[in-house]
């Protein structure tokens, strides 16, 4: 055990000295996470919808919308609603983007509807906020569809002998909300863009980081120091243990530093530290196992580095480290489960939904399975060869 730590200490000293581990383990993922989170819009987060209205009508139908529908939407924090009395002022604010979409209920709107002549509501949207305008349109369309239904009902009621159409309309206006906006963020348990790219880049570059430790056994052979280690009064397992330990420390340090740095610098929210730690440890072990298989079947450090880079990139792409898997075709989302990356990100996503530590159990077990299986493959494939002088 002591010898393993001595070997790991020497390896870590070499890795720190050549700076490549720092570049690939910290600088590159941190830089890319920062860039991605800055330039790619956050498609998973809620966004502000700013609505306004000008009620020139003052009738039952416009009031039903203004006092019956819009307050509920505002109460659910789905949009902010601003009343205007002056149409010109409201139009100026829409033009400038202060208000995203404006409802204009013209004078005589309710009377026209009640008289059966129909009526029109103007919806004015800011050109840069098309989604907000579409939402405003959907809210209004839902309400107007209900008004149509109410109109038909009132007409039917009057034809069957009802005496007070105003009372009927007032009753209809108190009907349930016409439109409900659903916040999809928590339901699909996805990370916000900043956290997603921080975690994605961290687990993507983790595979490059641990390869330094795993491949150093090939470097020992290349430098001719492996026979010297084999001739030392230490067990052969301590040589492998030293390599695994340095890989683990490099990988875990990279992940922890990235988590702390992205939290402090770009506001990533990794979630419950204990759950994150479990996911990180499992992820690092899985990465070590996979990179060990590649190293075992390689003959030189250069060959190992090339293959490990290819494997790291392919698994990273398949595992959804560059885009949320919810936006990927179903087949890709399915096959992504063949990578530790996807399990790691899923674990973080579930953790961010606030369901407690239990949600990381399955992702962690999946990654540990990768570790066990790949280490077994590496041991079998490298038996009698890895530690040959």
């Amino acid at each position: 055990m002591r010898a393993a730590f001595v070997i790991a200490g020497k390896d870590l000293s070499q890795r720190i000295r050549d700076r490549s581990a720092i570049l690939l383990g910290l600088v590159a993922p941190l830089g890319l996470a920062f860039i991605f989170s800055a330039i790619i819009p956050d498609t998973t987060a809620s966004f502000d919808v700013s609505l306004a209205y000008v009620d020139q009508d003052g009738g039952e139908i416009s009031s039903g919308f203004i006092s019956g529908v819009l307050p509920d939407i505002e109460a659910d924090e789905l949009a902010t609603v601003e009343p205007y009395t002056d149409l010109d002022t409201a139009m100026v604010d829409v033009e400038s983007g202060t208000t995203h979409a404006l409802y204009v209920f013209p004078d005589g709107f309710t009377d026209g509807v009640l008289a059966g002549d129909g009526g029109s509501v103007r919806l004015v949207g800011n050109v840069d906020h098309s989604i907000s305008t579409q939402i405003a349109d959907a809210i209004l369309s839902g309400y107007l569809a209900e008004i149509d239904a109410v109109g038909i009902s009132v007409d039917a009621a009057m034809r069957s002998g009802a005496q007070d159409p105003t009372a009927l309309v007032a009753a209809a206006a108190q009907s349930p909300d016409a439109v409900v906006l659903v916040d999809t963020e928590a339901a699909s348990r996805e990370l916000d863009a900043t956290t997603f790219f921080s975690a994605g880049m961290a687990v993507f570059f983790l595979f490059f980081t641990v390869q330094f430790g795993v491949s150093s056994l090939l470097e020992e052979r290349f430098y001719g120091t492996l026979p010297r280690l084999l001739g030392a009064p230490i067990s052969r397992w301590s040589i492998l243990g030293g390599k695994a330990t340095s890989s683990f420390i490099l990988g875990l340090t990279s992940m922890v530093v990235l988590a702390v740095a992205t939290t402090l610098l770009i506001g990533a929210e990794w979630g419950n530290p204990a759950g994150v730690a479990i996911l990180m440890i499992s992820g690092v072990l899985a990465a070590i196992g996979i990179m060990a298989v590649v190293a075992v079947v390689s003959k030189t450090p250069e060959q190992a580095a090339n293959w490990q880079s290819i494997v790291a990139v392919l698994l990273g792409l398949l595992g959804g480290t560059f885009f949320p898997l919810s936006q990927a075709p179903p087949a890709l989302a399915f096959f992504s489960k063949l990578t530790p990356h996807a399990w790691f990100l899923q674990g973080l996503g579930d953790l961010s939904a606030g369901d407690g530590l239990s949600v990381v159990v399955i992702p962690a077990l999946a990654m540990l399975t990768f570790f066990v299986v790949t280490v077994a493959i590496a041991v079998l494939a490298g038996r009698g060869r890895v530690l040959a002088p």
């Binding site: 001595v6 070499q14 001739g231 009064p233």
Partner: protein, 311 residues
């Protein structure tokens, strides 16, 4: 007491038997040479002796402790210097020594002291903190040996330590090995340089094709193949007259006179040389030069294997 005892070592790689029934012993303070060409089985043999390579059969003990690839304690008594330079280029000499010192379990206080001693012995005290990638080939080679000496082993195994070394460094290495013998360290030295084996080794094993063909002191090996010494005399005067006078000396195997010189074949030239010179003086033949050629291990190797060492 023997420091190293090995017997019946066999190692085959698929159909190729690299080492076949190799066995010998080395006493404390003795330098033992394995002399043979490349591919003779020298490195495979010492890899098994150092516990690096598992043997197919046979046994090795160092200081009475059995050595295998799985043992650890006995390896503490062995210093192994591989043929290829085995150091970390991105670490300094001091860091290389410290790393291997820790692996050999040298206590920290002693390790610091010992590193300074070894750096002094290998002449790298002034460059001890420089990265070894900045060293010359000779300096790296010296550090390679220094690492093997660090833990003061009972047995030092040197695998062709002078290959690719400049003459100055080579001489420094050979002097160091001679000094080791004097301090009581047993040395196992492999080489394909006959001169090194003759200079350093108390006993030599001639190895070829994975087998030890002969073993003994230089004299024993020479006698084993019946080789004679040659005395070449440069003469001023009649070479024929001198040859006729020397014919009366029965210990001389043959005397051949040529223009200006006489070639004498004899067993034990150094013992008979004064008498030869005395006869030349009595015969009134001047001697302008004397060359004594003793049979060497090269000729022994040639005799035993039918090929030259560098083939």
């Amino acid at each position: 007491m023997n420091v190293l005892e090995c017997e019946g070592l066999v190692k085959a790689f698929d159909d190729l038997v690299a080492v076949d029934d190799v066995g010998f012993h080395i006493a404390a303070g003795e330098t033992y040479g394995l002399l043979g060409p490349n591919g003779a089985g020298k490195t495979t043999s010492i890899s098994m002796i150092a516990g690096i390579l598992e043997s197919d059969s046979g046994s090795v003990t160092v200081g009475g402790t059995e050595i295998t690839t799985r043992t650890t304690e006995g390896k503490r008594q062995i210093g192994y210097v591989p043929q290829d330079i085995a150091i970390y280029p991105d670490l300094s000499a001091r860091e290389n020594l410290r790393f291997f010192g820790k692996l050999y379990g040298i206590p920290k206080a002693r390790l610091d002291e010992r590193i300074d001693e070894v750096l002094a012995v290998i002449g790298l005290t002034d460059r001890g903190d420089d990265r070894t990638e900045e060293y010359s080939g000779g300096m790296r080679r010296r550090l390679n040996i220094g690492i093997g000496l660090l833990h003061e082993p009972m047995l030092l195994i040197l695998d062709e330590p002078t290959v690719g070394v400049d003459p100055q460094s080579r001489n420094s290495i050979l002097e160091g090995v001679e000094e080791l013998g004097r301090t009581g360290t047993a040395v196992l030295y492999t080489t394909h340089y006959m001169e090194e084996a003759e200079r350093l080794c108390d006993r030599v094993a001639i190895i070829d094709g994975g087998k030890i063909r002969a073993e003994g002191t230089r004299r024993e090996l020479v006698e084993l193949v019946g080789q004679l010494d040659t005395i070449n005399l440069g003469v001023v005067g009649s070479a024929r007259r001198l040859a006729e006078a020397l014919a009366s000396v029965t210990e001389l195997e043959s005397v051949i006179a040529t223009e200006g010189s006489v070639e004498i074949l004899v067993e034990g030239a150094s013992g008979l040389l004064p008498r030869v010179l005395e006869i030349a003086q009595q015969s009134d033949v001047g001697v302008s030069g004397v060359e004594v050629i003793e049979p060497n291990l090269e000729s022994v190797f040639l005799h035993l294997t039918g090929k030259a060492l560098r083939d």
